[in-house]
Symmetry: C2
Subunit: 336 residues, 2 copies
């Protein structure tokens, strides 16, 4: 089955609407899922659909939430996501945040009481396409153990960065603070093989390569030992303490069977380099990227995604027939 991004997004949105989301909110979240599928970011594409639906059905997230945006300081926007999806909250603040960054030089968006179940690059990339440098951080339910601890406290706490360059699409990276994604450990358990050393600890805080022991009360380890731990800690401080969101260890999703998201917070920083002293930053970033390529970096983060995106725009998005049939069923429609 070949489908355009627009048609796929509209179909996913109709599925979300049938499970308790307003058309406005459904369109935003569906757009992010469709974009991930378009870019070949399968782990955050249609693979997440069941998780979204189960979470909506559980009553844990409010699909009809109407976020409230305030501006408590000249450079700080606050968004109460009202227990809705983080992408809806971000959309509500986006234009005001861009205007703030252009006026002040910087803008922070502090989102709390939000659910983030998608990749993080879709949050930062659009800002870089409009000339801004953007950093995003999201905290989540406890999954990783840091700084010599035995039990998990922080989430996998992803961080993303995007910057504009004059001669191509933005450079964008998006990475979890855990060495490996929870999904990879789940996959190893299903497939019956061990994970690498350094991926996780068991419930006693002892290193293990057994995915079942990591998943059954154990924890993941951060990337880069204490240095990745530092990043994870920073994300928790900015995404939760700064925004007023819940810490990962305050998550109570288990009370809502089927819920797969964390009710937490998100911090975004926007920087307008044209208001700084550096002159034409996008042109200088182009020089930096050219130097990296010349030094042998054949594949920069996002290169593959851009390549797949260009193909999808040209040829459409290929999805398995069974997936399409399921999606139509969720949307309450006959297959086209």
């Amino acid at each position: 089955m070949i489908i355009t991004e627009a048609a796929l997004g509209a179909l996913i949105a109709r599925a979300f609407e049938r499970h308790g989301m307003t058309p406005h909110n459904a369109a935003i979240v569906a757009g992010v899922v469709a974009a991930a599928e378009r870019d070949g970011a399968a782990s955050h594409g249609l693979l997440r659909l069941d998780g979204y639906i189960a979470t909506l059905n559980s009553g844990w997230v409010n699909g009809e939430a109407v976020p409230v945006v305030t501006q408590p300081a000249p450079a700080i926007l606050a968004v109460d996501a009202c227990n809705g999806f983080a992408q809806v909250a971000l959309a509500a603040a986006r234009e005001q945040a861009i205007a703030t960054a252009r006026r002040e030089g910087l803008a922070a968006i502090c989102i709390h009481d939000s659910h983030h179940f998608a990749a993080l690059w879709p949050d930062v990339e659009p800002f870089a396409e409009r000339g801004l440098i953007a950093i995003a951080m999201v905290n989540a339910r406890s999954r990783i153990v840091i700084w010599g601890g035995k039990r998990k406290v922080l989430g996998t706490n992803p961080m993303a960065f995007a910057c504009p360059r004059s001669d191509g699409p933005p450079v964008v990276w998006d990475q979890a603070s855990s060495l490996r994604a929870q999904g990879e450990v789940l996959k190893a358990r299903v497939e019956g093989h061990a994970v690498s050393e350094g991926v996780g600890l068991d419930a006693e805080g002892v290193p293990t390569t057994d995915p079942a022991k990591i998943l059954d009360g154990g924890s993941l380890l951060p990337f880069g030992a204490h240095k990745g731990a530092g990043i994870a800690f920073m994300v928790e401080v900015l995404a939760a303490a700064m925004t007023g969101g819940r810490f990962g260890f305050q998550d109570d999703s288990p009370k809502f069977p089927g819920a797969q998201t964390s009710r937490a917070g998100q911090f975004l920083l926007l920087i307008d380099p044209s208001r700084g002293p550096g002159g034409d930053a996008p042109s200088r970033i182009a020089v930096l990227v050219a130097m990296l390529r010349e030094a042998g970096s054949d594949r920069l983060p996002g290169d593959e995604r851009c390549h797949r995106r260009a193909r999808a725009v040209e040829d459409g998005i290929a999805i398995p027939d069974a997936t399409y049939a399921k999606l139509c069923k969720l949307a309450g429609e006959e297959e086209a």
Copy 2:
């Protein structure tokens, strides 16, 4: 030899003054060296003295620089360090930056044409002691290779983070983007042993554990593979492209024999959590830290430094007699 922090700082300052620094600039940089020695951060303490003196003697850095602070946007301060030390530039902007962060909620300090030869925690810790969250990034001459490259482009690009907490000193971390410091590889070469796998590449871009091959035209690798590489790239973009500082690969220190510093840039971000929607962030951070300790994190970043600092304040700083004698000689003084 036991000496107080104040007396040590004053002695180092007199040594700097005899090598071309103004009393004002000498006092600032000497204070940072003495503080590192006080906190037991030996690699950035008196061990760096020869490097400072050799760099001053080479004419590469201007010890008499008078930084120029401007404010190109309401939330952005720019500092032209005028080829002087970064700490002098930061000191010139500090109070204005704090006032900006308190008024706007955020403040960025963009320093360019600066030399940073110290640890980064002394730059962020004082802001957190005054209730702000602070992030600092410094770029430096090419030393690491990222994203599958063969040759170094970025510096070891350190990043530091500090946040206030209600029940103790700030939580502060400070980490290079390389897996290991250049100094550790130098030490391994002197001591004649190999370094671990993953530390570096030789001049052809091939992994090696031979410190000589890493140092002789080779490169260091980032911490955490592509994820640490992402951090190093972000540091280069913000510390150089955003500030107008030189990229690491634009460094021309080899033209000045003896020069050990990089002429580059620095980016600092200050956040006033009391202006955000999160309420009392220092109290929430205290809760987070308590939870980490309860989960088994016995030693948080900075714990050891705080402990040593308390002892040094009580008992003074112990330095070897030979070091003291050398310092007196550099300062042109008789030993006390």
